[in-house]
Amino acid sequence: MSLAVPRRSFLKISAAALAAAGLGAPQARLGAGEPAAAGAVQTVPTFCDICFWKCGAIASVRDGALWKIEGNPLDPLCRGRLCPRGTGGIGASRDPDRLTRPLLRARVRGGEEWNAVSWDDALGHVAEKMQAIKAKHGPEAVALFSHGIGGTFFKHTLKAFGSPNLAAPSFAQCRGPRDVGFRLTFGDDPGSPERTDIANARCLVLIGSHLGENMHNTQVQEFAQAMAAGCTLIVADPRQSTAAAKAKWWLPVRPGSDTALVLAWMQVLVAEQLYDTAYVAKYGHGFAQFAAAIADKTPEWAGPLTGIQPEVIRETARAMARFRPATLVHPGRHSNWYGSDAQRSRAIALLNALLGSWGRQGGFYQPSAMELPAYPYPAYPKPGKPKADNPGKRHPFAHESITTGIRSATLTGNPYPVKGWLVYATNLLHALPNEAETIQAIQQLDLLAVCDVIPSETAGWADVVLPECTYLERHDELNPELFREPFLALRQPVVPPPDDQKPNWWIARELALKLGLGAWYPWSDIEQYLAKRCELGGYDWERLKRDGIIRGQPQPLYFEQGAPAEFATPSGRIEFWSQQLADKGFAPVPEYEPPQPNPPGSYRVLFGRAPMHSFSRTQTNPLLHEVMPENALWLNAVEARRLGLKSGDRVRLRNQDGVLSDALPVKATERIRPDCVYLVHGFGHTAKGLKRAYRKGASDAQILTRYQTDPLMGGTALGNNFVTLEAV
């Protein structure tokens, strides 16, 4: 209702009244900073890369310089509007801290001392080292860490080289537990972008998931759309997130106790017969065993564990039931929290199953994608050894590579030595738990080559730094997104790179050529490659270049509309009780495992996102830096008073292992429980080249030294770190 932009009447003013007043050349009369005559503006459609959501965008170039970037109205992901990071994306290109030339390490690792070299020398060095490692240890001893679509061609080169060890932090450090929990239950995961039908949800339950701070564009847009339509919002979060502040019920749950809460919600639904009995009967498997297993998980049981009143648990469960199946219990995304996270995620999946929301309007829709045949490359060589990250399938349900598994193989030489790391667009020192372990692993390497756009902490440890141009200056792989409706998106350069930076496809290709892998690069220019793929898929390349987006035929979204109700589980049904878990010695129905308790006098560290930053990658972006130059430590106001601290006072955090953080200002607030503190991830940079961000705020990665590994899938949980505060 209130979402309708008053465009009609608005246009009336502009078109009629203003024109009638004869405002022919308003520019001359306006105030400061008005854009100069709009004559010299060109626009180029592309898609955003400030995070992995890949929103379609249109960049404007004025007199040859980047001016602004806006959402592409054709793009179903962004619906014509970018998030703040996307809007500020042009700052990535303007960033004075950018890498400009290939660099070779001058002295010790981590010394951040470099010699600028030619691309030929830099890649020659990388190729030489890779060949030496291959000769001694086999091609498997070179691993690739990459994140995002730009890693496509590096992966291609490494696969051609013969390594199976390719990993991204997006699994073990991010959505892995959730994907595994949902796969175990529904046989499929929520995907990225998530298949959540937030827009149509009439009741939305957020467990952590801090939408609005977590600024994944479509999710936030749909969240606002649902709220405007009167959606009932329930948020469980120890901190009053932005979303929690808008909720009908904010449950300031005790950190790490969510599984108890979810079990109790399910107990109410089952005990009070409020669940979707027809749906469960039709699609469910093992419901009776499940019901028996949770029968004693009453709100009274969960109350003391979670800190939430039993009546509130009941009331909220009933609210969920009232709106089902349009009740969406959001699966979350960053889900490696406390160590038994795949099971917590499975509990969330089961709650959704009880509400009948999977495959239903207002729950989880069935996504679809454009058909896009792969480029006809020769087959990759078969690696001689299995992946190094998960020896003996220690974590039986890991369906992607585990970054930290590669790290421990590097550290221990088990199951075999890993001697070379190529790192593309991931800042491992901020992304992986326990920095010291990552540095120790790096010290075992014969080669660390880092491809980045700025001199990140990880680049600081590299032997070779490969400066990439930003997304605004390059092509990338096509994006045939799996989403609400099929579409194909193109990234293409808006402006040329300012210095000697090169695009990833060029770097990966040159490296492959130097490695003698030319057979896998039959094309010489990416436009040939992209045009060929379009041709194979039957898409109009020229149109794609012009519009940036080609949309496909919408497919049925819900079971009711004919979306197939298929579940790729062993039973072919929604598994309330999981034999495969039981077979591997895990609980077939999730059980509550309490998190480690706070050592006396300490606070548990929670962390999350700020809407205007992405991880550790945007702090030097001049536009985004300006709206949030540093992070702050959220501390309960009563605790702050007790410690004699007020907002703005600077403190350092000392964790249970004695590690001391950089200083950051306190935000004394009524919006957080007294037993935990919170800070936004990605700040507190220690790389000297990141001049604008250097030592501004504190790094959560610095103090999150302890981690628990999820036994099911190898995810690393950071929720059990505790700190005391030291005023500075």
């Binding site: 209130s2 400061a32 703040p84 042009i90 609005g212 564009n217 936030v220 809407p611 205007m612 957080i672």
Partner: protein, 179 residues
């Protein structure tokens, strides 16, 4: 006569500052300055604290003290639309208007003249929404003519609870917040 206004739904705003960043790029606002900004206000105590997030800017007041106090006529009410603007060709940078604005919405541009939100009249006059409104991912910002009872903004004000900033200052602000 049109009276352009912005109506912002605080129940939807997430404080993401997209509006701030968009204003900066659209209007070439120099680094270190902003024409709009985000204010977060928390009332009450844990666990029943209440948060209001607002995207703030010049209110294009109905009774703008910044216009009256300007000795050169640089600050003026631009018609149609009753948008308060600064003509940088006339502004001597005396800062009287800055002192006169209860919302601290103005600043001295490094080029010497005073600057602030223009309601993006350069866009509006070409039938586009202001930059901040056009990017807002939650679509919580509305823009239109208060004098047109059929406009979206007028209808929202009739149907929703709302407040303006510092009503006691008597300036008649036209950036209005739905609650």
């Amino acid at each position: 006569m049109a009276r352009l206004a912005m109506v912002i739904d605080t129940t939807l705003c997430v404080g993401c500052a997209d509006c701030v960043v968009a204003c900066k790029t659209e209007n070439d606002v120099p680094e270190g300055f902003c024409r709009d900004w985000i204010t977060e206000q928390v009332a009450g105590a844990f666990p029943s604290a209440r948060l209001e997030i607002r995207s703030e800017r010049c209110n294009h007041c109905d009774h703008p003290p910044c216009v009256g106090c300007c000795p050169t006529g640089a600050s003026h009410v631009h018609q149609p639309g009753a948008v308060v603007l600064v003509d940088k060709q006339k502004c001597i940078g005396c800062k009287a208007c800055i002192a006169s604005c209860p919302y601290d919405a103005r600043f001295v541009h490094p080029q010497g003249h005073v600057d602030k939100c223009t309601f993006c009249v350069h866009r509006v006059e070409h039938g586009q929404l202001p930059a901040c409104v056009s990017v807002c991912p939650t679509r919580c910002m509305h823009f239109g003519d208060l004098d047109d009872p059929e406009s979206g903004v007028a209808r929202l004000l009739r149907s929703r609870r709302h407040h303006e900033l510092l009503p006691a200052a008597g300036t008649g602000p036209r950036v209005i917040y739905l609650t």
